[in-house]
Amino acid sequence: MRLHETPVISNLPLSGGYYMLSLGAPELSTEAKPGQFVHLRIPNIEASSLRRPFSICDAEAGVIKILYKVVGRGTEAMARIAVNETVNVMGPLGNSFPCPVDDKMPLLVAGGYGVAPLYFFAKNSTTKGALFVGGRSEQDILLVEDFTKIGWETYVSTDDGTLGDKGFVTQILDKWQGAHPATKIEIFACGPDPMLAAVDTRAQNWGVEAWLSLDRHMGCGVGACLGCVQKIRRKTNSGTEEYMARVCRDGPIFRANTIVWEE
């Protein structure tokens, strides 16, 4: 983990308010592991603005890519970053997805920009599997062809039915699981809390491993401010205990059945 002053290679609009930012970051691109994120200082904004965390969507040949959605003032300013500017990036941060287990088929479950870390994961995985991606509407479904290109099956759902099945991503996951009850699977998921909680329940019901990447407001990004915590269950010698894990440092990826979801 280090601070990197990275030149902007491109900052391209995709569909529906999503952008792909490519940064020249040789060290980061070799070091980064799928599931890790960077903490990015947004240029041309008040000096007192906090950094913003983004998953590493791709890291190859000295370049890292970030897939982001414009949702507020920080990402709005990001959309205005121009090619000859530099961006200060802290990273790579957080833990990473475990390597997929050979005899299990990896199922990736993504909501919106949750595809970002999963794409990096899929690219680096020797075992191929299936991607299940959901979003509000057609334009929230990204990178599907990229997954196809690297040999992954893809299944799509949208809340409004404008692309793929109408409904939640967990419904197409259920459908697939119903059709392949005997397949040994392992789940890797990234998306909004309700989606992750639904995946968590399924993993427990199906008795399979699942790895869930959480999205929390962050301050420091390195485990110092305790701003991003999530209550996590862990085993102790005498039973289980709950503790406040730092999503930025102890996560962002937690094993299913350890997250204490709030109502």
């Binding site: 983990m1 280090r2 601070l3 200082r41 008040e46 000096a47 007192s48 603005s49 906090l50 950094r51 200060n88 802290m90 929390r216 407001h217 962050m218 301050g219 420091c220 990004g221 390195v222 485990g223 110092a224 401010c225 305790l226 701003g227 991003c228 915590v229 999530q230 406040m244 440092r249 709030e262």
Partner: protein
């Protein structure tokens, strides 16, 4: 001639007057990969009490113009956890370690101080009577000069470690609080903690922080903290550590001009972890430009 940046604040020997503020630098180890900790004047660790503390529910932080609100609620491992998990690393770093302490009762402060008193590697205790984010303890002890006096006196009787009293900014006249701490035997003051603040999600019509209210830090606090240091310095003879919205060397120098003997970088650590090192360099440049040999010459 190279100016001498070293300072001695209440018996704490610092290589330079620039440290980091409690709660914004974890226990030091979190930033060890990003900067050479031994270059800092001091490290103040996150506030702890005797017992472990879970802190507040999330969301705990929120960005606002010119700063941020936080309501961490003093999450911490307790004195025992701190000594076991963090002190071994901190002892390996050549830097004074200041431990920020709190309690929900007067006795809680005393017990926390007791536990830390004879621990190797602790340079001083900073008494937090000004955290706005816990229901009991914290700022409730800082709200009157009388209770500041009581807490500081009680801790004073418990330990020989240098004591720094960290004061709250939301008072009509900080001088009386500064004097109360001095009279109770505090060796230095830290000025200041965050300002109580709040933000709403207007669409949901509810506070954005789970704790409802939080503490405002960052640039927004800076001119307020500078004024508080100026006022406090006029009232007491003990040294003052200035903090609040230091992002650039000039912000730190303002505190030193106003009468602080040292400064601490807080929120800026999150945004640019090298802020404290940049500030040290900036102070050195400033002293050269103004032909100053020692840091104390900066004060007006």
């Amino acid at each position: 001639m190279k100016p001498d940046l070293s300072v001695n604040v209440a018996g704490i020997k610092m290589k330079n007057p620039v440290g980091v503020a409690s709660g914004t630098f974890g226990y030091g180890v979190e930033y060890a990969e990003l900067l050479d900790l031994s270059q800092l004047g001091f490290i103040t660790v996150k506030g702890i009490r005797k017992e472990p503390c879970e802190g507040n529910p999330t969301p705990r932080i929120w960005e606002v113009p010119g700063g941020m609100l936080n309501a961490i609620g003093l999450q911490g491992p307790g004195t025992e956890g701190f000594i076991e998990d963090y002190m071994p690393f901190l002892r390996t770093v050549d830097v004074p370690v200041i431990v920020n302490i709190w309690g929900t009762t007067l006795n809680g402060y005393v017990q926390t101080a007791e536990d830390l008193s004879d621990v190797d590697g602790i340079a001083a205790l900073e008494i937090n009577v000004s955290c706005p984010n816990v229901k009991e303890g914290g700022s409730s002890f800082g709200a009157s000069p009388k209770s500041v006096f009581e807490v500081v006196s009680a801790v004073r009787k418990t330990t020989k470690l240098p004591l720094i009293t960290k004061l709250a900014p939301n008072v009509p006249d900080i001088r009386v609080f500064a004097k109360a701490a001095e009279e109770a035997g505090s060796d230095a003051l830290a000025v200041s903690n965050t300002l109580p603040g709040m933000a709403f999600d207007i669409e949901e019509r509810r506070p954005v922080l789970a704790n409802k209210t939080g503490g405002l830090s960052g640039s927004a606090l800076h001119p307020v903290a500078v004024k508080l240091v100026w006022d406090a310095a006029s009232a007491v003879n003990i040294p003052i550590i200035g903090m609040g919205g230091i992002f650039e060397p000039a912000d730190a120098i303002e505190f030193l001009v106003a009468g602080a003997s040292a400064v601490a970088v807080g929120t800026a650590n999150f945004i640019d972890p090298s802020t404290s090192l940049r500030v040290i360099d900036g102070i050195e440049d400033y002293m050269k430009r103004h032909d100053m040999d020692t840091v104390s010459q900066i004060a007006v």
